[in-house]
Amino acid sequence: MTLCQLFLQPDAAYACISELGELGIVQFRDLNPNVNSFQRKFVNEVRRCEEMERKLRFLETEIKKDELPIYDPEDNPDAPKPREMIDLEATFEKLDHELKEINTNADALLRNFNELTELKHNLQMTQGFFDEAQAHPVGVLEDMAGEREIELGGQTTATAGMKLGFITGVIPRERMVTFERMLWRVCRGNVFVKQADIPDLIEDPLTGEKVHKTVFVVFFQGEQLKNRVQKICEGFRANIYPCPENPHERRELAMGVMTRLDDLTVVLSQTQDHRQRVLAATSRNLRTWQIKVKKIKAIYHTMNMFNNDVARKCFIAECWAPVSELDRIQLALRKGSEASGGGTVSSVLNRMITREQPPTHHKLNKFTQGFQNLVDAYGVATYREINPMPFVLITFPFLFAVMFGDAGHGLIVSVFALWMVIKERSLKDKWRTQEVWTIFFGGRYIILLMGLFSIYTGLIYNDVFSKSLNIFGSSWRVKFGDEILNRRDIDTVQLEPTPYNYSGTREYQQMYSGTPYPFGLDPIWQVSENKITFTNSVKMKFAIIIGIIQMGFGVFLSLWNHLHFNHRYAIYLEFLPQIIFLACIFFYLIILIFYKWTHFDGLVSTQAPSLLIQLINMILLSYPTEPESSRTFYSGQRGVQTALIIFAVICIPWMLLGKPIYRIIMNKRRANYSTVTNHTENAEHEIDEQTHENESTKKVEMSEVWVEQGIHTIEYFLGCISHTASYLRLWALSLAHAQLSEVLWQMVLHIGLSTNGYAGSILTFLVFMPWSCLTVFILLLMEGLSAFLHALRLHWVEFQSKFYKGEGYPFIPFSFRLLLDEVPIEG
């Protein structure tokens, strides 16, 4: 990683940045950090881009409203040139304007259409009223209190009092009852209301919803009542329509309304067609435009970070770039300069030397990306530090599998992951908004490896949905006679573990063949009562062994780091004490485990050493003779263990004091050089070397060094013991998983499998559903998540604390591909 300076010609700048964006391997630094974003050079262009994006968003919502499909572009459109930007803007402006016009027109037309529809119904209904009234004049007259008469068919009947007026209108059906009641109360019963329901659903002109409406006619006498009725109609938001009193006029009005309605329907449908056409044409190009606008905006954002050198009339940019890619960057710059009409002076790339810590860049592909994310979640690697990812790639799924260990469950997980991997392309853009899915999909390779390793560990644990497979034939046989097995007073028998006749008597029966089951756990343990006691022992031992080996591996990786950074002193003062301590106590423990496995069998089982007690006694330097399992079990054990303890204890002050004393000596030497030598150049040389080694340009505070070293020492030595014990979670979780699996089988599936006959088959069918649901949700998802978390913790804390600093910052290149992937285009 190197810091580069780019000198770009103003005309070529845009094209060069576009090329670099396509390439995606440089990270630009902001050279104007103190400048407000509104005062930057290209703020106008950015504003224009945002305008364009807003218009595109509007177009997209309109397209979505009509449910038209949006086509994805097959290839990657290039960032358009600055001149093309103006064309794009004009196109968008035109489309935007056109669509807005169509929309307002359509709205107005629709409103008109609805009003006319209501009017049509209104006229129809009132026509009905008046015809009815004409047919039954007596009944109507009897309804009226007083001498008033209704106007019938246009003939005004002279009345003793005033003329009757009426108001017709349309009101939503729900409001009709309250409307009538209000009218009755307010007008003190002096109005007459007739109503009829409109059978079709009408779209209300104001709200746009389709509701049931009722036509009403209110008859009243006098101005006062008229005002009151009108006010009530307004209050209830009934739409009032004028209705001519003359039946002729009514008929003419009705016909006029029908013709206008027909015309409007035609116009409306034409407007809709026009809108569809415009949107269809847009939908084909929408995505391409969106990508282009995004690219333009990104380029201008980047150019805002440049320094505009007025004197030399060029842009100065600073960027981080990997050293191995410098050729490709030069090529891209040349392409950009040529594309923009190649001036005489092309853009220049200049490497700069700097003391700043560069960003950390790892070359990744789609397989390793997931694992790198796991590591980076804890901390991005310090620049040039060793990357634990290649090791985590295998050890993480393996430790997960040790905790998950069931071949059947592993098979299901593998199949799921395999599906995701095989269908990668088509699944990549689906369900982008579902975060849970994107997490699973992003980790598909991790899940695949976890599943495959789980199948392997499941076969070794001999656990397939809590049942064992007997592929090679068990190493155990039951050789008890009937006289023992038929006894009523015993429930259990224990098979003889010693494979040879140790007692020399006839009663001995060899029940164990002497050769262990070739692959994994013997199937007899699945059906025995003391399975857990047996498996606990082997799982705990394995957990400790793999834990110590992983920690030792971590310490060796720190050696690699020291070698790379050329910290010779750290090798002698940190690595050596660490590895000696680990070896003396914990590698010795591993040796003891293997010794116990190979040198003690069923005959001497009572004398077999308890490794835990032996370890404690070793540290306490006590060697009791009483409980048989605490006795020394090989000659010279006292001496060997005492020596190991002494070596281990020496390591503690070695690590605690070594580095600070070294620092003190270095400081003194530096002080001596600067005072003794008269040639300042020499001094600078020496000082430069020292500072280069010590990574600091100023004198280090000694108290800080002591404290830091003290912390590191305590952390390491206490950590060794606590982390070793922490690895026992591998045993604990695998036990939990096995037991849960067994419970599910015994309590759920067994119900169906143990019933006989046809009822049994139906019951099995029914019972399978809860069994499989519980398996998936509890065992696969919950246990899987739990094992994932614990395996991750083991890596982050127990493994990486031995060598990983994780104090870097990631390399985020200016890349169009990253930009477009980041924001999921809703589709």
Binding site: V478, P497, G514, T515, P518, S528, I546
Partner: protein
């Protein structure tokens, strides 16, 4: 003793092929080192796991505890010869 060695040799050779011989046969490419690391680690972990379980069962300190019913079933199912 000999029968015990058969499985030991077989699996050691199997994982040894995968972890020691196969890395040399990976063609040159950008992922060569990564694949080599993966093979070595996989074979080491898997072999160690198998070995621990195999060694633990070689000299068992106690035998399986069976219910008398299960013992009778197994005696019939598996007969009494190894």
């Amino acid at each position: 003793m000999e029968k015990f060695a058969i499985a030991l040799i077989f699996f050691t050779v199997f994982w040894g092929l995968i972890g020691v011989v196969l890395p040399f046969l990976i063609p040159k490419g950008p992922n060569r080192r990564l694949i080599q690391t993966m093979l070595i680690l996989t074979s080491a972990c898997c072999w160690l796991f198998w070995l621990c379980f195999y060694l633990h069962q070689w000299n068992p300190l106690f035998g399986p505890l069976l219910t008398t019913t299960d013992a009778r079933i197994l005696r019939e199912l598996w007969s009494t010869d190894f």
